[in-house]
């Protein structure tokens, strides 16, 4: 939690973080669970609404910011991370949280994901992973299983899915976790941990799309997920990678967590280094005179 986040603690109820805009998700959409978990995490932490900036791309899940009482920045498809980075650097007092989908994150936004992880800006990123493109009505996504039949893969997807957890680990994210939207209590806990983490916190949440993905359903995840063992050391990246790549189970929990200087801190360092001696415009002019 940033310093400023803890300042005003009078807000306590999750409803205080819900806007008056009607939620347009389908009944049974996994994203409801995430919305609930996020609101509760906000309430638990007592975050001041005016410091919250929710940033999203385009997709069903990217409607998320509409439904929270916060500043909401609904940018273009795939541009969530660089937009959020600009906000978080421009005003480090804000609590900047990205909320979007798997297509937005790993397909059109994949290139930005790499660089956000390594730069470690202090912002949180929640991906609602339904292994499908929801808003465009059901095409396969980068996390769709091999052989998955969708509108754009009528003969079954022929592409190996990506593994977001391993990717984030290898890209150098300083906080990497996975949740499941039907486990709201656990999700809330992960979100709280992510917000409390100083740096870039990445959270992939399985969030089923009952409308367009009939395979990766609540039931499917219930059978497949498994909490990371207590013995797992969250500072051990090799171990985190091993769990991420486990073939039998989809582990949930915090895979990796280790703070290092944030991008904001490093930029502050540079500003400080640069302005050791006070400078005036005239000093610049004279360089060219």
């Amino acid at each position: 939690m940033t310093d400023s986040a803890s300042s005003s603690a009078h807000v306590k109820d999750k409803k205080d973080y819900r806007s008056d805009i009607d939620v347009t998700w389908c009944p049974g959409c996994g994203d409801f669970g995430v919305l609930d978990a996020v609101s509760r995490a906000f309430a638990t932490l007592g975050l001041p609404q005016e410091k919250l900036v929710l940033v999203s791309g385009i997709g069903c899940s990217s409607r998320f910011p509409y439904f929270t009482k916060s500043y909401s920045f609904h940018t273009l498809h795939g541009r969530l991370l660089p937009s959020a980075m600009g906000i978080a650097i421009a005003n480090p007092d804000l609590i900047v949280i990205g909320t979007g989908g798997d297509g937005d994150a790993y397909s059109i936004g994949g290139g930005h994901f790499i660089h956000a992880c390594r730069r470690n800006p202090n912002l949180k990123y929640i991906v609602m992973d339904n292994q499908i493109y929801g808003l465009t009505k059901g095409q396969y996504s980068p996390t769709s299983d091999l052989g998955f039949v969708t509108g754009s893969t009528p003969y079954g997807s022929c592409e190996d899915p990506i593994d977001p957890i391993s990717m984030a680990l290898v890209f150098g994210a300083s906080f990497v976790a996975r949740g499941f939207s039907s486990k709201p209590k656990e999700c809330e806990q992960l979100i709280i941990e992510a917000i409390n983490h100083k740096g870039f916190a990445f959270l992939d949440i399985f969030s089923p799309c009952p409308t367009f993905n009939k395979v990766n359903s609540v039931k499917y995840y219930m059978q497949k997920i498994k909490p990371l063992p207590e013995t797992h050391n969250v500072e051990d990246k090799a171990s985190a990678l091993t769990y991420a790549q486990d073939q039998a189970s989809l582990f949930v929990g915090v895979f990796y967590k280790k703070e290092r200087p944030t991008m904001q801190e490093k930029l502050a360092d540079i500003r400080q280094k640069a302005s050791m001696k006070p400078i005036k415009m005239e000093d610049l002019y004279s360089l060219h005179t």
């Binding site: 500043y71 909401s72 273009l76 660089p82 980075m85 280094k273 005036k280």
Partner: protein, 601 residues
């Protein structure tokens, strides 16, 4: 006494051609002269030819001019490339060491001797390489030998000023370095001494008035300085020729003023983060060239509908596609004005010269903030990298208008803050995130006044109109501001020339040349290409029988814009070969257009 002198310094890339030229230009400027330069780059990293053209005069200089009075050739290639560009009666200063070593054969293929005799060119040999390498044991000082030779030949480049500059520059590296460079300078002077009389006819007069404090810098650096003056605190960019030096300059200096500079993974990320920073309240911008600018179109449309201020500097180069990365061209007007999908007009500005780059930077941030909309600035390679003197600007005189950023909002009966409220001037008060009691949705979907997405005909019509009318207001403001218009020539002329950007110098000079031939012409350059200042231009066009439009692209992009706006004929002079347009070309075009209209007797 001549009015001006035009010299060229040429040599191998890496031999210090550019740094020597820069010193010469600054020295002349410090002595109160006017200076105008042009610089081309080797197309390939390795080898390639480096050159700088410098025109000096005690009076105002309008353009680069034509043939050279003096060429200083630091190697053979420079001779081969530029010998035929020396004026009759001009002088070639040549590295004797080069000549002695390898080049005679090369020179012979050119038959330079024949050429030199025929065209009455004098060759002065200066052993640059040998003096630097053998005598001074510092081969790098070769460019200083050349510099000394020029100073001796043309005292408008004052050697005392240059010595002082060298001292300032090198004193950190120790006294010995300063001494060596001074010795190299002196050696250069020495070799010219016996031939001084040759240069008598090339001397120019003293500048009349003492000038105020001036720097000498390029369009890109001037824009960077302007952006710092404007209070910009966030820059994100991705390297690209010829815009990379903005990123590099700001990387060094913006943090000194509390700003952040980030090299992003691509241009899309650069502009996306700029828009994020702008949303959070900082003045923010990016700089790029054609290929990167093409990639930014989707985000520019987003900034338009989200009503987010931002500035994008597009330093044009030869196109299309990767095109001619180091060449001058003005072919991004179409994409700047028409480039995003949907109805998303923008403000597009184009500076005319280096001092303008600084001013336009300040203007662009003010316009972006005031009208909450993206502003595009079209610079271009030759302007971006040419050195020109420019006044020191007193920061306290720079007006900053951040527009309607508020911390309190009058709700006027509305249930809550309406980010896109309909107001008389179509601009809505803007609250920055972090402000208590307000929150709103900002995004790229069509929306109602609260920012909530809405697709009804009413919402779309109302909001489209709001966004268009803002630009209409911007146009009205612009039309009232003389700064945006540059006029020149005979006010009574019935022939006009229009254009945009850095061709203005050649246009002015062409007008002077035409006047000498008894042809009366005037010109109007607008620094605003969108929204087009139709009133100012319309009024100016009224009395004109013929209007020639000058531009450095093949399609006549500006001509088409003018035709659509004024539904009249224009004579289009397009030039698209990577080289800035010359006064003579304009003169020729005007005359042939006149002949065509059978008005020439």
């Amino acid at each position: 006494m001549k009015d001006d002198v035009l010299i060229l310094v040429g040599g191998e890339g890496g031999e210090g051609v550019i740094s020597a030229s820069e010193i010469l230009v600054k020295a002349a400027a410090r002595a109160g002269y006017e200076v105008y330069t042009f610089r081309t780059f080797p197309a390939e990293i390795r080898g390639g030819h480096a050159q700088m053209q410098i025109r000096v005069s005690p009076k105002e200089i309008l353009s680069l001019g034509d043939r050279f009075d003096v060429v200083i050739a630091m190697n053979d290639e420079a001779v081969q490339l530029h010998l035929h560009e020396i004026k009759a009666g001009g002088i070639l200063i040549y590295d004797k060491s080069e000549y002695d070593k390898a080049s005679v054969a090369d020179l012979k293929t050119l038959d330079p001797n024949g050429y030199i005799q025929k065209n009455n060119i004098t060759v002065v040999m200066v052993p640059m390489t040998d003096t630097a390498g053998r005598d001074l044991k510092t081969p790098k000082s070769k460019n200083m030998v050349a510099t000394g030779a020029i100073c001796a030949a043309l005292p408008c480049f004052r050697i005392d000023i240059i010595k002082e500059m060298i001292k300032q520059q090198f004193i950190k590296k120790g006294d010995l370095v300063v001494q060596t460079n001074w010795q190299a300078l002196d050696a250069g002077v020495k070799y010219i001494q016996p031939n001084l009389k040759l240069f008598d006819s090339l001397q120019i007069g003293e500048p009349k008035s003492k000038k105020s404090k001036r720097m000498v810098t390029t369009g890109n650096i001037a824009f960077s300085l302007g952006s710092i003056l404007a209070g910009c605190k966030y820059f994100a960019g991705y390297p690209i020729t010829p815009a990379s030096d903005v990123l590099e300059y700001l990387s060094v200096h913006l943090p000194k003023f509390g700003g952040n500079v980030i090299q992003t993974e691509d241009e899309i990320s650069a502009l996306a983060s700029v828009l994020g920073a702008s949303y959070a309240g900082l003045r923010a911008y990016t700089a790029t060239s054609g290929p990167g600018f093409s990639l930014m179109q989707e985000l520019l449309g987003f900034a338009h509908i989200a009503e987010l201020p931002c500035v994008v500097l597009d330093v044009q180069r030869g196109g299309p596609s990767t095109g001619l990365p180091t060449k001058a061209e003005q072919s991004d007007l179409n994409i700047a004005v028409f480039g995003a999908h949907g109805d998303a007009p923008r403000i597009v500005l184009a500076p005319l010269d280096v001092p303008d780059c600084l001013q336009v930077a300040i203007k662009s941030f003010n316009l972006a903030d005031k009208y909450q909309t993206p502003v595009i600035v079209l610079s271009e390679q030759s302007l971006a990298h040419r050195f020109e003197p420019i006044e020191w600007i007193d920061p306290s005189t720079v007006a900053i208008d951040r527009g309607k950023i508020v911390e309190e909002v009058q709700l006027n009966g509305k249930p809550r803050y309406a980010r896109y409220d309909l107001t008389e001037d179509h601009i809505s008060p803007r609250v920055l995130p972090g402000t208590k009691n307000y929150y709103y949705i900002m995004g790229g979907l069509e929306h109602n006044i609260y920012g909530k997405p809405g697709y009804t005909p009413e919402i779309h019509k109302t909001m489209t109109e709001k966004r268009m009318k803002k630009l209409e207001l911007a146009r009205e403001e612009i039309e009232k501001d003389k700064y945006y218009f540059e006029e020149f020539g005979d006010t009574n002329a019935s022939i006009g020339i229009m254009g945009w950007g850095a061709t203005i110098g050649s246009t002015k000079e062409a007008i002077l040349l035409l006047k000498k031939e008894g042809i009366s012409v005037k010109t109007l350059y607008t620094k605003v290409l969108s929204p087009l200042p139709v009133e100012t231009i319309g009024k100016w066009l009224k009395s004109l029988d013929m209007v020639v439009v000058i531009e450095m692209n093949a399609l006549g992009q500006f001509t088409r814009v003018l035709e659509a706006a004024f539904k009249r004929d224009f004579v289009s002079l397009t030039k698209c070969d990577g080289v800035p347009i010359k006064p003579e070309e304009i003169v020729g075009k005007v005359k042939s257009a006149l002949a065509l209209e059978r008005r020439l007797v």
